[in-house]
Structures are given as structure tokens and as C-alpha cells.
């Protein structure tokens, strides 16, 4: 039994307690606990079909959880729609509508006043590097441009909470960078941002905290820094000037070194260090023993953590759920 959520002004922007959702025979989300602090930037990670979009749709009150408790901005998402911005995974626009008109329409639905709305739309189009498309029809835009238009639709009304479902998928690196920069700006403005992605590099770059789910279950919930530390391989990477072959015996002789492996590039040696030895001490000894081009403590990437955890928890997710949009 989960404790009942009490209402307070400082409560997290999103709270999920034991939330579960089933579609027929498929358990899309199981007993999910999650909190998104106000003003934070949290990433919801997971392989395809892990239950990310289902969780987000429940947060948006588009679908109702079978069990568990869920609060958004201190209440139900239905009551605070105007304070939430949402970019769904399934992109959609009125194809024949003009871009400016479409965004004006969404702005009005979000309760923005008519006055000044068009200039607000134009300003956002400039900000997101889409100048001159105000009068273009949506169907005339490229897929990436359409995605950016939809992004504006999610943030035009300056919401407190921004929920983005796979915001960068399908974008080329240039457009992805533009969107990342805007997301960072919005975060700096104090808005709470909750985004789902399966692109680890972007999550690593953006998120303060990551929540990893697989097969509808949470398998990781930690700050990005904690993840890096927790999954650190305790290794030092060194690129000897004379080559790995010549330096290997000297490196293996350093106290605390368990083994020396060759990295994929063929030039870098990875020294695995035991738990009792300080990594910085190993670096000093290695520098003294072997002239090198580069030496650093090995870092774990979110990508590595993702693969490792997902593999440990039974591999990739099931087939995507049918029935739910």
C-alpha cells in the first residue's frame, strides 16, 4: 500500500505512486513510483515499448491508470491543462492550416489572449529558427520543421511543466541542437521539464536526473552525476607515446592494477583498478612510469549504463502495445 500523497505548495511537479496500467494481456506500466521536482529537468529513458509514452499519457491524464496515485502540479492534469505543455510522440498538425494560424489556435486553446498572440508566435518562430513560415501551410514544411512547429505549440503558453515525448527523434543534428538549446533555456527560466528519450547522448547532455524503465518497470532513478559515479568502471585510460605493447609491462607493475586491456582504438590502454586503490594515485604512478600522449579516468556513458541495465533486466521490451494511440 502506498502512502497517500499530501498536498503542499512545494510538492514535486509530478508524483506517481505505484501507478500501473495494463492493455489487455500486456502490462504496459507496473507499479511505477516517480517524482519530478519543480524546476528540474528529468529524463525518462527506456527502450522502445518500455512504457515511456504510456506513463507520459497517464501523467497528461489522456488515459487513466488502473491503480496507484498520480498528481500533476498539485492536482489533476485535467485541472491545470493551461499550465502544462505537451509534445506527444505521435506528431500531428492540420496539414492544410497555415503555421501561424495553427499556433494561434493552440495558443487560444491554452487560454492565451488574442491580443499579442500573433507576435508571440512570430517571436517563437524566430527563436526556433523558423523565420518566414508564419503564412506557410503545415504540409509545405519538412518533417523536422513540422516537429519544431509542434514544439512551439507545446511551449507557446509558457507552461510551468513541459512534457516532451521523444522531442529529438527524427531531427537532424543541427535542428536537434537548436531544440536542445531552447530546452536548456526553458530550464534556466525555472520551468520543470520532463522528457522521454531513448537517445542517451542527449539525455546525458540535458538531464539532471534520469529515470530508466524497462518492460514497464523502473530500473534506475538517479541524478546523472550519481549514475556516472555508480557505474564508473574504476579504470584509467592512457595512450602511451611508445605504444601499448612497449608500455604494458610497466603499467601492469603499478600497484592496484588488476589488468591492462587494449581499447577499441588500438592506441589506448585501459587499466582496471581494484577498489582499494586511489585512481589519482594510479594516474601519478603511470605518468611517472610511461611517457604518454593522454591520460584520464575512464568515464561511463549513459549509453553503457542503459545497455547494461536493460540487458540485466531481461533484454529489450516487448512489442509496442496495440490499441493505445
Amino acid at each position: 500500500m502506498n502512502p497517500t500523497i499530501t498536498n503542499s505548495k512545494n510538492e514535486p511537479a509530478v508524483i506517481l505512486r505505484g501507478v500501473a496500467k495494463r492493455f489487455g494481456a500486456v502490462q504496459a506500466v507496473r507499479h511505477l513510483d516517480l517524482e519530478v521536482e519543480r524546476g528540474s529537468l528529468v529524463g525518462l529513458l527506456g527502450p522502445n515499448g518500455a512504457g515511456k509514452s504510456t506513463a507520459i499519457r497517464m501523467i497528461m491524464s489522456l488515459i487513466r491508470q488502473d491503480s496507484g496515485e498520480l498528481r500533476v502540479l498539485g492536482g489533476d492534469a485535467l485541472d491545470v491543462k493551461d499550465r502544462i505543455g505537451y509534445l506527444p510522440e505521435e506528431r500531428g498538425l492540420y496539414r492544410r492550416m497555415r503555421v501561424g494560424e495553427f499556433l494561434f489556435y493552440l495558443g487560444r486553446l491554452k487560454g492565451l489572449p488574442r491580443q499579442g498572440l500573433n507576435s508571440r508566435v512570430e517571436s517563437w518562430l524566430e527563436r526556433i529558427e523558423l523565420p518566414g513560415v508564419f503564412r506557410s501551410r503545415c504540409q509545405e514544411l519538412s518533417k523536422g520543421m513540422q516537429q519544431k512547429v509542434q514544439f512551439i505549440g507545446a511551449v507557446l503558453h509558457e507552461p510551468d511543466l513541459i512534457v516532451l515525448d521523444e522531442p529529438f527523434s527524427g531531427l537532424d543534428p543541427v535542428n536537434a541542437r537548436v531544440l536542445i538549446s531552447v530546452v536548456q533555456d526553458l530550464h534556466r527560466e525555472g520551468r520543470t521539464i520532463f522528457l522521454s528519450t531513448h537517445q542517451m547522448a542527449q539525455a546525458e547532455q540535458l538531464c539532471e536526473r534520469v529515470v530508466l524503465i524497462n518492460r514497464g518497470e523502473k530500473i534506475l532513478d538517479s541524478t546523472t552525476q550519481e549514475v556516472t559515479q555508480r557505474f564508473s568502471p574504476r579504470a584509467v585510460e592512457i595512450e602511451p607515446l611508445a605504444g601499448i605493447h612497449a608500455a604494458r609491462s610497466a603499467l601492469e607493475a603499478i600497484p592496484g592494477i588488476e589488468s591492462v586491456q587494449t581499447a577499441e582504438d588500438g592506441r589506448t590502454a585501459v587499466m582496471l583498478v581494484n577498489d582499494q586503490t586511489d585512481l589519482h594515485a594510479v594516474m601519478s604512478l603511470a605518468l611517472a612510469a610511461v611517457p604518454c600522449r593522454r591520460i584520464e579516468i575512464a568515464r561511463v556513458s549513459l549509453d553503457d549504463v542503459f545497455v547494461r541495465l536493460v540487458t540485466e533486466h531481461g533484454g529489450h521490451a516487448r512489442q509496442p502495445v496495440r490499441g493505445a494511440a
Partner: protein, 462 residues
């Protein structure tokens, strides 16, 4: 998938925004402007202008026809007829406008022209009749007809001129291949009547008296109502007016409801629905869409209705559609539209494309076609048991009530109107409620279309 209860946070400004978009993007399209406004306008213009164009394009009938009869009596009668039909100002016809007018007025007195109403002949007629005997060789004459030198050759078999004319023997009329249809019809009419005149004259009977004796008098029917008022009968209008009103309502309601179905499916298939649902509730979305298309429907109704009322005013026949009928008509329209729109919106939300929609809409369409089949029997007897019972059966009740209220001479009993309003009003509310339940689930569903049982389950879902 059961969505949450979305009745909270219901905001009319959102509904108005959605309704306005729906209205604007339906009305301000080439298809609508062309189909709902320009097309009727063009039709009215064509109906008004076409007779003028036709009358101005008449080719004068000038030339010679050859009449082959046994004793020349038909040829004489035809010559006489063509003389009377000559237009004033035609060279050599010797008739003034007044003469022609008199000739046509003689329709009351039994002259040849009077045997049939020739007042519709708006062409210049200047025909010389050349009589030939049945013994003459017609080969050369037929060649002249073929080449267009002669207008026609008409052969009257002698057996048609006896006191006991043969049945199954026809007059032969040969015309050139390019002879205008109206000219050919004129020759045929005059030949037939001239034959009758010749036949009557041979018996020595006074033609005028004979015609006066056989002419059927006209009837002027009036219906004596319970209030003791004699309502003048106009058989054609008694059928046309209710049918016109019912069709107008049917077309207006179905065009917009169909548009509702299409736009809902489009929003689902283009995935824009989830964006909309992040800003509004399904109930607000449904309400906005139904209202928006309702205004489109009202616009169509106003356009066509105003044209119809203008037409009646032009014919000074406005009295046949009293104001009370128009007010009731508006009420019945609202009920009909909301019922049809609710059905279409629910179906549109449950399917992914138009093809899937057809299988779900078909049963409803069959029911909605019933008023079209009931038009004649209900117009015939607007207060009968069939009309009374079907008035209380939703969703066809409003259509039947329109047929009844615009077609009945006797006022419809007020309790009929009251019960019909109550039953159909309640059914409208129920249908809209069910549609909203189906809509909130259907709009987010993808994959195979639901079965009717699944739709019922959606409607009952908490």
C-alpha cells in the same frame, strides 16, 4: 484504454475556439463555397435565364409542307391553322398582333387552334400547305424533304377520316434529319388536330358545339377543416412543400454531420488529436466540433431556405408556410442535426479511416433514409396513424414532424407536438451523451475498428 473523466475544467471559451475553427475551415473552402453557395446560385440563375435563352434561340418555321390526304379536308384545316399561327409583322400573312391574339383566344370557341393550347408556340410560323392526292407519286417529294427543300410530308390514311376511324393506324410525318424537335412536334400536333377537325366536319357536326360539350370543367377543391375554414386545395403543393422542407433539413443535417465524421477521422489519422487533447478535454472538443458544424448546417439551411422563401414570396404564396411552421421547423432541425451529428461524431472517433466508418454508419444511414420513403404516405395523410407513430420514433421523428407540420391542412394536435418534442429531445440528449462517452475513448484508439458491442462497452465505461 479508459480515459479519465474529463468533465472538469470545462471551459466555454475553448468550445467557442474549436467551433469557430471548425466553421471557418469548412465554410471557407473552395468545395463548400462551390457546392453550397455558388452551385445553388448558378442553378437559380439557370432556372431564371434558361427560358429566355430558349425563347431567343427559336428558329423561324418558314417553308412548305406537303399534306397527302384523300379529299384535301385535312390539308385545308392545317392551312387554316398555320394561317392563324402566323406572327404579326411577318411578310404577307396579313394578321396583326390582335388577330393572332384573337386566334389564340378562340381556344374557348372550338376553332382549330382551340383544340389544343397553342399559346406556348413562341416561334415565327409561315408555312404554306401543298396538298397532294394519295395517288400521286411521292418519291420525288420525299427526296425534297430529305434535301430540306420541303419542311415535311404528312400522310393522312383515309381510314382515319371516316365516322368510325380505324384504331392502330397512324399519321405519317416525315421531316428532314435536321428538323428542330419543337417544329416537328408542332407539325404533329397540328396534323393530329386537323385530322379531328376534318373528321368532325365530315359528319356535319358543329365543331364548336361538339368541343364545348366534351370539354371537362375544372374543379376547385377546398378542405373543410374542424375550425370550419375552407382551405384551398393545391394537390401538387401539398406534396412538394413538405417534401422540400424535409429534404432541405435532411441535406443540411447530413452534409454537416458527414463533415464532422470526416474531420474527426482526419484529426485521428493526422495524429493532431493528441495535441488537441493536451489542451482541451474530449467533451469540449466534441462540443466545439458539433457546434461548429451546426453553424455550417444553419448557414446552408439559411441559404437554401431564404432562396425558397424568396421564391414563394415571388409567387405570392408565402401564406402556405406560416411563421409558426418555420419556428417549429427550426426546432425540429436542431433536434435532427444534434442526433445525426452525435452518431457521426461517435463513429468518426471510433474508426481510423472512411472505409471503416462506412460499415458502422451504414445501419444508421438505413434508418435515416426512412423519412425519404415516408414522404408521400405522410404527406398524403399527415394526421394518420403512420405519421403519428413515426413522429415519436427517434431519430426520424423530427423529419416526420416537418413533413406533417408543413403538409397538414388541419393543425397537428398540440399533444402530438409536445410528445414528439419530449421524446426526440430526450433522445437527442441521450445520443449526445452516448457519443461523448464513445468519443472520449475512441479518439485515442488505433487499430481495428470496434464492434458494436465494444462501442456499447465504451459508452458504459466509467
Amino acid at each position: 484504454m479508459i480515459p479519465t473523466d474529463r468533465s472538469r475544467g470545462f471551459r466555454f471559451s475553448r468550445i467557442a475556439t474549436i467551433a469557430w475553427r471548425e466553421f471557418r475551415h469548412t465554410v471557407l473552402t473552395k468545395g463548400f463555397i462551390l457546392g453550397a453557395i455558388i452551385f445553388p446560385v448558378i442553378m437559380f440563375v439557370i432556372i431564371g435565364v434558361m427560358p429566355l435563352l430558349i425563347s431567343n434561340e427559336q428558329v423561324p418555321v418558314r417553308g412548305t409542307i406537303v399534306v397527302v390526304d384523300s379529299d384535301g379536308s385535312v390539308a385545308r384545316a392545317m392551312e387554316n391553322a398555320f394561317q392563324q399561327l402566323k406572327k404579326p409583322g411577318d411578310a404577307g400573312n396579313g394578321l396583326s398582333a390582335a388577330d393572332v391574339s384573337d386566334a389564340l383566344k378562340k381556344t374557348q370557341s372550338g376553332d382549330l387552334a382551340a383544340l389544343e393550347d397553342f399559346t406556348d408556340i413562341a416561334i415565327t410560323v409561315d408555312v404554306t400547305v401543298l396538298r397532294m392526292s394519295i395517288d400521286d407519286d411521292l418519291k420525288e417529294i420525299k427526296e425534297q424533304v430529305q434535301s430540306g427543300k420541303l419542311l415535311a410530308i404528312i400522310e393522312i390514311p383515309a381510314v382515319l377520316l371516316t365516322a368510325d376511324p380505324a384504331i392502330g393506324i397512324d399519321i405519317s410525318l416525315l421531316v428532314p434529319s435536321n428538323s428542330p424537335a419543337k417544329t416537328t412536334a408542332l407539325f404533329a400536333r397540328i396534323a393530329r388536330r386537323a385530322t379531328v377537325v376534318a373528321r368532325v366536319e365530315q359528319t356535319g357536326t358543329d365543331l364548336a358545339k361538339a368541343m364545348a360539350l366534351v370539354r371537362e370543367p375544372q374543379t376547385e377543391t377546398a378542405r373543410l377543416t374542424n375550425a370550419g375554414v375552407q382551405a384551398k386545395e393545391n394537390t401538387q403543393l401539398r406534396f412538394l412543400i413538405p417534401g422540400g422542407f424535409m429534404m432541405l433539413m435532411w441535406i443540411a443535417a447530413f452534409t454537416s454531420a458527414n463533415q464532422l465524421l470526416t474531420t474527426t477521422i482526419e484529426e485521428k489519422s493526422s495524429k493532431v488529436i493528441e495535441v488537441l487533447l493536451s489542451a482541451t478535454s474530449p467533451l469540449e472538443l466534441l462540443a466545439g466540433k458539433i457546434l461548429g458544424q451546426g453553424f455550417v448546417s444553419l448557414l446552408m439551411l439559411s441559404t437554401y431556405g431564404a432562396a425558397g422563401i424568396a421564391g414563394l414570396a415571388f409567387l405570392t404564396m408565402l401564406d402556405i408556410v406560416p411563421l409558426s411552421s418555420l419556428i417549429l421547423f427550426f426546432l425540429w432541425f436542431l433536434l435532427a442535426y444534434f442526433m445525426v451529428a452525435a452518431i457521426m461524431a461517435a463513429v468518426g472517433s471510433a474508426v481510423s479511416d472512411l472505409r471503416e466508418a462506412q460499415s458502422l454508419v451504414q445501419p444508421a444511414m438505413i434508418v435515416m433514409m426512412i423519412p425519404l420513403f415516408l414522404w408521400l404516405p405522410i404527406s398524403e395523410n399527415p394526421t394518420g396513424w403512420l405519421a403519428t407513430i413515426t413522429s415519436f420514433v427517434p431519430p426520424i421523428g423530427p423529419f416526420v414532424m416537418v413533413l406533417r407540420s408543413t403538409g397538414a391542412v388541419e393543425p397537428i394536435p398540440s399533444w402530438h407536438i409536445g410528445i414528439a418534442l419530449a421524446v426526440n429531445g430526450f433522445s437527442t440528449i441521450a445520443l449526445v451523451w452516448i457519443a461523448s462517452r464513445v468519443f472520449r475513448i475512441g479518439v485515442l484508439m488505433q487499430g481495428k475498428p470496434p464492434t458494436p458491442m465494444e462501442l456499447l462497452r465504451w459508452a458504459r465505461a466509467r
